[in-house]
C-alpha cells in the first residue's frame, strides 16, 4: 500500500462520458494485481471530500490505468484532468481476483457491464499471460457504451459484445449472451463486474450451471484501507452472515458468499 501524492498523468483518452487515464506511479504499479483498486483524490480542495475508488484497468511496468464513467462531481473533476497534471493516489487497495494455476488452458469467462469492464481488462490480460483462455463479454445499452471495443478487438483474446438496443453485437443483455455461451461452452470459471442487477442475475446463472464465480462489488468508501468500516455489506462467510468490508475483505468475493441486495 502506497500513497503517491504526485502520480503524473501520462495519457488521457475519452469517449463521450467514458474516460481513460494512464498514470506514472511506480511503487503502486509494481504491486498491483487484477481486481485491486486505487483511492484517488479528485481535487486538492475539500469539496468533494472523499477519495474515489477506481479499479486498476491495466498495469505495466511503472504505470497504471483507470477507466471510468462520469457519474457525479468526483468523476467529473477527474475527467477534466490533462496529461502532465498530478493526482494523489493511494493503492493498490483490496484483494484481487483469484488467479488459480488450474485455469491453465481453460476457458475463463470475464463478464462486464458498462464501466464494470474496468477491472476485467487487466484480469483478462493476466489470465492470458498465465496460459488461460479468457473469453470477455462486454455489454452496454448501445454502441457508444462500448468505448473499449477497439482495445478489446486488438487484445488477442475472444471478446463478445452485446447491446440492449442491438446497435452492435448480440441484441440483448450481456447476461443473456453470457448464459447462452456458458451453456454451450462450459467454461471453468466466471468473473463478473457491473451493475448490481446484472451481477445478481449472473450469479443465478452460475449457480444453476454449477459454475464457480467471483464478483467485484461496489460501495461508497471512506478510507479504502479497512479502517472505517463504512463500506461494509452483508457477506456469508463460513455459513455466518456478517458485515464485511468491501475495501479490505473484498472488493472481489466468491459468488456463494454474496448476499445480493435484491435478495
Amino acid at each position: 500500500m502506497f500513497q503517491d501524492k504526485n502520480a503524473r498523468i501520462i495519457k488521457t483518452e475519452s469517449w463521450g462520458n467514458y474516460f481513460l487515464l494512464r498514470l506514472a506511479a511506480a511503487e503502486i504499479a509494481q504491486k498491483s494485481k487484477p481486481g485491486q483498486f486505487l483511492m484517488i483524490r479528485v481535487s486538492p480542495g475539500l469539496n468533494p471530500l472523499l477519495r474515489r475508488p477506481l479499479s486498476i484497468h491495466d498495469c505495466s511496468g511503472s504505470e497504471v490505468e483507470i477507466f471510468f464513467q462520469v457519474t457525479g462531481k468526483g468523476t467529473e473533476l477527474l475527467s477534466q484532468k490533462k496529461p502532465g497534471d498530478h493526482l494523489d493516489v493511494l493503492g493498490p487497495c483490496g484483494g484481487g481476483f483469484s488467479l488459480l494455476p488450474e485455469f491453465k488452458d481453460k476457458e475463463i469467462f470475464c463478464v462486464g457491464g458498462g464501466r464494470g469492464l474496468a477491472p476485467l481488462y487487466f484480469l483478462a490480460r493476466e489470465l492470458q499471460t498465465a496460459g488461460a483462455r479468457p473469453v470477455v463479454f462486454y455489454g452496454g445499452q448501445t454502441l457508444s457504451d462500448l468505448p473499449l471495443k477497439k482495445r478489446l478487438d486488438e487484445a488477442g483474446w475472444e471478446t463478445n459484445f452485446s447491446t440492449d438496443d442491438g446497435s452492435f453485437g448480440f441484441h440483448g443483455l450481456v447476461t443473456q449472451l453470457a448464459e447462452k455461451e456458458l451453456m454451450k461452452r462450459k467454461p471453468s470459471f466466471l468473473f463478473g463486474c457491473g451493475p448490481e442487477a446484472m451481477m445478481t442475475r449472473l450469479a443465478e446463472i452460475c449457480q444453476q450451471a454449477v459454475l464457480p464465480a467471483e464478483f467485484s462489488l461496489e460501495s461508497i468508501m471512506g478510507c479504502g484501507l479497512g479502517a472505517c468500516w463504512g463500506c461494509s455489506r452483508k457477506i456469508k462467510k463460513n455459513g455466518e452472515i456478517k458485515y464485511l468490508r468491501i475495501c479490505q475483505d473484498g472488493p472481489v468475493f466468491p459468488a456463494e458468499e454474496i448476499i445480493w441486495s435484491g435478495d
Binding site: M1, F2, Q3, K5, R41, L46, N47, P48, L49, L50, R51, D88, L90, S219, I220, M221, G222, C223, G224, L225, G226, A227, C228, W229, G230, C231, S232, R233, K242, Y243, Q248
Partner: protein, 303 residues
C-alpha cells in the same frame, strides 16, 4: 529544536497529534503507510464488551466539506481486542488509548475494567457521545447527570486515566464538561460528530441505512473550535480538541483556542499521511515563530 511534547498530567505525549477513534481502525490499518511511532497518540475504534455488527448500509454519505457516518460501532469486542490487537499495539512507543463504549452504564464499567487488566493502554477515552447507536441519536453526553453517573461508574471500575469524549449536540457543552470533571475524568475530548440527515432526492430515502448519522470533517471545524474555546475556559482538566482538523494550521488554531492536544479524524481518509504531515507542519511553524515549547500557545487567543 522545538519541544513538541504535551504534558496532560496523567500522560505525557511526544507531540499533541493523535489519531481519532473510529477513523484509524485498530491502528494496524495505517501501519503500511507510515511509522505509527511518529504519532503523539492513537485512539482505537470504539469497543463494546461483545462483538458488534453495526448499522445497516449505506453507512457513509458525503455532504459539503463533510462526511456523515452511521457505522454504529461495528467492532470485535473487548476480549478479541485484548487478545489479538493490544499485544501488538503495546509494542508501539506512542500512547495507545482505547475508546470505551456501552449500551448502559454497567457495560461502560465492564469494558473499562476488562481493559485495565491488560497492559499497553495509556488511557481510556469514554465514548458517551456516539450519535449512531441509540434511537434518534441520543447519548449520555447530552445530559450532565447521565455524564456524571457514567464517568463516576467507570472511574471506580478502572485505574487508567480517563478522557471523556463530549457530544456537540447540546445546548451547553460546558455543563457536560464540568460534570465529567466533577466525576473524576482527567481530561475531556471534544467533539464527537453532529447529528445529521442526508436525503437522496430521487428515491426520497435517507442516504444512510440508519436514517440519521454523524457529521464530521472541515464543515464542523468552526463549531468544534467554538466549543473547545468555551470548555477550555471553564474546566481545570486538559481539553483535547477535534473536529475537522485537516492541516497543521487547523491543529494550531485549536490549540490557540484552548486545546492541549488534538485529534485528527476524517482527514485520515482524505489524506492518509495527514497525521505525520500535521506534526511536521506544527514543528516547522513553531520553529519559524521562535517558539521553544509548543505548549506555550495553548489558550493564547487574544480577544
Amino acid at each position: 529544536m522545538v519541544d513538541l511534547s504535551v504534558d496532560l498530567g496523567f500522560l505525557k505525549l511526544k507531540n499533541p497529534v493523535m489519531a481519532a477513534s473510529g477513523t484509524f481502525g485498530y491502528g494496524l490499518e495505517f501501519q503500511p503507510l507510515y511509522n505509527l511511532n511518529l504519532l503523539g497518540g492513537l485512539v482505537v475504534k470504539g469497543l463494546y464488551f461483545k462483538p458488534r455488527e453495526g448499522n445497516p448500509p449505506p453507512r457513509l454519505a458525503e455532504s459539503p466539506c463533510g462526511l456523515i457516518n452511521s457505522i454504529g460501532l461495528q467492532g470485535i469486542g473487548v476480549e478479541a481486542f485484548c487478545r489479538e490487537i493490544l499485544p501488538w499495539l503495546a509494542d508501539l512507543t506512542t500512547a495507545v488509548i482505547a475508546n470505551v463504549c456501552g449500551e448502559e452504564e454497567g457495560e461502560y464499567a465492564r469494558v473499562a475494567e476488562y481493559l485495565s487488566r491488560h497492559p499497553g493502554l495509556a488511557a481510556l477515552e469514554l465514548n458517551i457521545s456516539c450519535p449512531n447507536v441509540r434511537e434518534g441519536g441520543k447519548c449520555p453526553a447530552q445530559d450532565p447527570e447521565a455524564t456524571y453517573r457514567t464517568v463516576k461508574r467507570v472511574r471506580q471500575a478502572s485505574s487508567l486515566p480517563l478522557i471523556t469524549k463530549l457530544s456537540p449536540n447540546v445546548t451547553d457543552i460546558t455543563a457536560v464538561a464540568l460534570a465529567a470533571q466533577e466525576a473524576g475524568s482527567q481530561a475531556v475530548s471534544l467533539v464527537n460528530t453532529f447529528l445529521a440527515l442526508a436525503i437522496d432526492l430521487e428515491s426520497r430515502k435517507p442516504k444512510l441505512g440508519n436514517v440519521l448519522g454523524g457529521l464530521s470533517g472541515p464543515a464542523i471545524k468552526p463549531l468544534a473550535m467554538r466549543m473547545v474555546f468555551e470548555v477550555a475556559r471553564k474546566v481545570k482538566i486538559p481539553v483535547i480538541g477535534l473536529g475537522g482538523i485537516f492541516n497543521y494550521q487547523d491543529a494550531l488554531e485549536f490549540m490557540v483556542a484552548g486545546a492541549s492536544a488534538v485529534q485528527v479524524g476524517t482527514a485520515n481518509f482524505v489524506n492518509p499521511q495527514a497525521c505525520p504531515e500535521i506534526i511536521k507542519g506544527i514543528e516547522d511553524w513553531a520553529e519559524s515563530q521562535g517558539i521553544k515549547r509548543l505548549s506555550e500557545i495553548v489558550g493564547s487567543l487574544k480577544f
